[in-house]
Symmetry: C2
Subunit: 255 residues, 2 copies
């Protein structure tokens, strides 16, 4: 009677199951997710263990498993919570497609910046309710482009990919006045040693001729600073959208 993978009773995906509520549950999914997000924000993603989250909630460890099947589902809750912050509030989505897409891209980047841990476990991402709403908003943003469905989907995916990639690199940020704050200690020395071998003419010329420094460490730092300049996000997005727009005017290729 009961198949090993029962498809009707108690679905595998958490969003398809009701959260506990018939009796009088002490916690809600939202509370649990919020607690986990709080820990990840302040102590890093690795600090998010079932024990730590339970402790944060003042509950026993195994209690969590009444709300969540396993840790992956907890992470799903966390990710969807962040996705909720990406959503543009009702009525605030600009009408022009460029402005609309830009607004969404900025919000995405801001959310990733607030919760850098999102990009830690990026491979096993799932789509939850807020993810679907995000998709809806993205489609809304490009509705009036006049492009066929495939082109519109390609457009929003392309921008998503850029924002993702940019945010990811930003996470590995060497920003500000750091030396090797984010990089593993010794990275500067590695550069120094390698460059002295003379095998890197372009890097060497960049540093000595253009950045005007004979100190490799300073040159490396300066290079990292340039790459990490936050205004590069807007510039890159602008260039990307320019390229997209240029391709829109031309007749759609017929194959």
């Amino acid at each position: 009677m009961s198949s090993p993978s029962q498809t009707e009773k108690s679905p595998a995906l958490i969003w398809l199951r009701d959260e506990p509520g018939t009796r009088r549950p002490s916690h809600s999914r939202a509370q649990i997710a919020a607690a986990a997000v709080r820990i990840a924000d302040t102590e890093g993603f690795d600090a998010v263990s079932m024990r730590r989250v339970a402790q944060e909630l003042g509950a026993g460890t195994m209690t969590l498993y009444h709300y969540v099947r396993n840790k992956d589902e907890l992470v799903m809750l966390m990710n969807d919570t962040v996705m909720g912050e990406v959503l543009v509030p009702d009525g605030e989505l600009p009408s022009g497609w460029r402005e609309a897409i830009t607004t969404i891209a900025r919000r995405s980047r801001a959310a990733f910046e607030r919760h850098r841990w999102t990009l830690d476990r990026v491979t096993d991402i799932s789509i939850g309710p807020n993810g679907i709403k995000h998709f809806e908003q993205s489609l809304e943003a490009v509705r009036d482009t006049g492009l066929p469905a495939e082109k519109r989907l390609g457009l929003i995916s392309l921008v998503d990919e850029y924002v993702f990639g940019y945010s990811l690199r930003e996470t590995i940020d060497f920003g500000g006045e750091v030396g090797d704050e984010q990089w593993p200690p010794g990275t500067l020395e590695l550069f120094e040693r390698e460059l002295q071998s003379g095998a890197y003419p372009c890097i060497s010329s960049l540093m000595s001729d253009e950045l005007h420094t004979d100190n490799v460490a300073d040159g490396t730092r300066r290079t990292m600073q340039i790459i990490s300049q936050p205004e590069r996000f807007e510039e890159g997005l602008h260039q990307l959208l320019d390229g997209i727009e240029a391709g829109m005017g031309s007749a759609p290729k017929s194959n």
Copy 2:
């Protein structure tokens, strides 16, 4: 005499230390890295444990710690190995900057595709010898653009970010004929349920009006397929480079 963080003896960064070799080491960093990469490729990144790698080498677990300080260093070796595959062989870098950058981008994407696990632990990325060579090649690619240093660095970073973002999304690929092979099981049902609420006019209209399907599952699958079309990589790269090129012709803004 010995400061707690000794800077001269035994540097913290693995690339600054000689690998064992004075006596007669049974293994080399290259061998160890190759073994770990092999495991990650075939069994997934999570299967790469110190015990498993040691077993693959026919060595005791703790033997690895003679070649590597901790697992992070092992992962550094793995990542730099992949970076080695990204490097364009001598003399094969095209002369035009667009072609050169495109070549590098394609190789990067191909390497990420061969070793999807690279994107799993993307946050704690470090730069090794091959990473520096990659940087050199990127600079070489844009050498003759005539752009100032900052613009050139921005250019190669921008393309890197796109490739990274694209590859990342590709990892979460729903490609081919899958239903919910990559997505957590039940994702299709979630879409189905959510869309029936009528709260997603753009998604609904996309599926019924443009993809001509009243079956939500089919529409979702079709949408995923469109997004996952591999030729989107080249298209997106092309559009991005178009946007960059358009910005190059104009006089550099003076502020």
